[in-house]
């Protein structure tokens, strides 16, 4: 199925132009952007516009599989390579020969597998598990991640040499809140799409009030969230409450303070103290179970995080629940459970 890249914003126009220039090159590409912005869509458009579009497009999610399994998925194995390897299996690299291998969530790949991937990219060859024979693969690798790989390099969790080898072409897709002019285009596209897909249902297009709510909402889950919300409204019919949720969410979350809060929150998230002081916390060794420690430590981190966000939002619980990505109800429950007290200096909402 043809997957178009929807949007009229300068950012999307630029991405289309970039795709036009690189789709026929077979050069390694990294697509970055927040969850739900459409990284896979871009990879599929690249594939469709490339001379490889009559060969396979194979997707592997590097975060979804444990290391050993991911390795055998990518490179395949010989019969008897490990317990359970009853017959030989081709890996995705081989299956994507002459086509495209889309490595989603590349930022989550372990260091040993990164080393192996680098070797394949350098030599164009790999050996299935349990085999000494190297197989040549002409595979176009397109990788995607919502992580900042440069940051992962400084944390030493991503190899710099692999980064440079993959990053020959970089495509960054900005979040939807930074390109609101695309919202209407996306709504129109998906509405038409749902009308075709669910032809038995009499789907009515969104009214103006809902469209306004869509346009002013900040869409933290990006295009995917918009698509799901639209589906819930148009097909499942529980529209009224969703729209109220969107309107309420946006009025609680003025755009001027939004980006500042997000920036400072991201910075703070990395500074919250995650260490656990045993001397101070553990007084009775008869209660020293790992499970108990785990719960206490998690509670402590959660408490710190919630307290921090509440102080940033001046104890606006609705704003805080959005930032923490938990429901309002859960936040209220956590405040009670974790004994988080509102400082007297804070003026109530």
């Amino acid at each position: 199925m043809h997957t178009p890249l929807i949007g009229v914003s300068p950012e999307i126009v630029k991405i289309r132009e970039l795709i036009d220039h690189v789709a026929d090159t077979g050069l390694n590409i990294v697509i970055t952007g927040e969850t739900g912005v459409g990284k896979e869509v871009v990879s599929r458009v690249l594939y469709q516009q490339s001379p490889r579009n009559n060969k396979p497009f194979i997707k592997v999610n590097c975060a979804a599989l444990p290391d050993g399994l991911l390795e055998s998925e990518l490179y395949g194995y010989e019969q008897g390579a490990f317990t359970g390897a009853e017959k030989k299996k081709k890996g995705k690299f081989e299956l994507a020969h002459k086509g495209v291998l889309f490595l989603d969530e590349i930022g989550d790949m372990s260091l040993p597998l990164q080393a192996k991937l680098l070797h394949v990219l350098q030599s164009g060859e790999f050996a299935p598990l349990g085999s000494e024979r190297e197989i040549k693969a002409d595979t176009w690798v397109i990788a995607a991640t919502n992580h900042d790989l440069a940051e992962k390099i400084s944390d030493k969790t991503f190899r710099a040499d692999l980064y440079y080898r993959l990053n020959i072409i970089k495509i960054y897709i900005p979040p939807l809140r930074e390109r609101p002019e695309d919202i209407l285009e996306l709504v129109n596209y998906y509405t038409e799409d749902f009308i075709t897909q669910f032809s038995n249902k009499n789907i009515k297009k969104l009214d103006n009030k809902t469209i306004d709510a869509f346009l002013s909402y900040h869409w933290p889950g990006n295009v995917r969230q918009l698509q799901n919300t639209l589906k819930r409204i148009l097909i499942l019919g529980n529209g009224k409450e969703i729209i109220e949720e969107l309107i309420r969410g946006e009025s609680d979350f003025p755009s001027s303070s939004k980006s500042n809060i997000i920036k400072s929150t991201n910075r703070a998230a990395s500074t919250i103290n995650t260490s656990y002081n045993f001397d101070e916390e553990v007084t009775d060794l008869s209660n020293f179970s790992l499970k108990e420690i785990r719960k206490k430590a998690l509670d402590k981190i959660e408490k710190d995080a919630i307290q921090f966000i509440l102080s940033k939002t001046n104890w606006n619980r609705s704003k805080a629940s959005k930032i923490l990505q938990i429901s309002y109800k859960t936040l209220l429950y956590k405040i009670t459970e974790l004994n988080i007290e509102q400082p007297s200096s804070v003026i109530n909402e």
């Binding site: 630029k14 132009e17 220039h21 690189v22 090159t25 050069l27 440079y164 990053n167 020959i168 072409i169």
Partner: protein, 132 residues
């Protein structure tokens, strides 16, 4: 050489572009510059046969220098390209693999750069006239 050699400079640092521009202008080159790989390729395509040499940075937004070299060399295999890099050995070896004619590491010595430019342009114009 009768006409001025036409060079394309691609670098995302305004400071570097300005420095190269001023220096190479004084050496009487005809110059065009771009601040990222995609713009560089678009400018190149607008006069693909007209450029005598390309100078490109390696680490850049959208299309990296390695991408630029591969794409341009694919279009014109004999086009002389000088890659400039400031980031360790990985991009350098990639630039060489992508067949950059010369790879220079920042900080660059402008006189050495100029020497490479004249050598490559001269060599290429001799080659072009032999082909003709």
């Amino acid at each position: 050489m009768n006409k001025q050699a036409k060079l394309l400079i691609i670098d995302d640092s305004d400071v570097i572009v300005e420095m190269l521009y001023q220096f190479l202008k004084s050496k009487n080159y005809d110059l065009v510059s771009a601040s990222n790989g995609l713009d560089g390729i678009k400018l190149f395509n607008a006069d693909a046969e007209g450029f005598d040499l390309v100078i490109t940075d390696i680490v850049m937004p959208n299309i990296s220098g390695v991408g630029v070299i591969s794409i341009l060399k694919n279009k014109r295999p004999n086009l002389p390209i000088i890659a400039i890099t400031g980031f360790g050995e990985h991009p350098e070896s990639l630039a060489a693999e992508a067949h950059a004619d010369v790879v220079l590491e920042k900080p660059i010595d402008l006189n050495i750069l100029n020497q490479h430019i004249s050598d490559l342009v001269r060599k290429n114009s001799t080659y072009q006239s032999e082909v003709k």
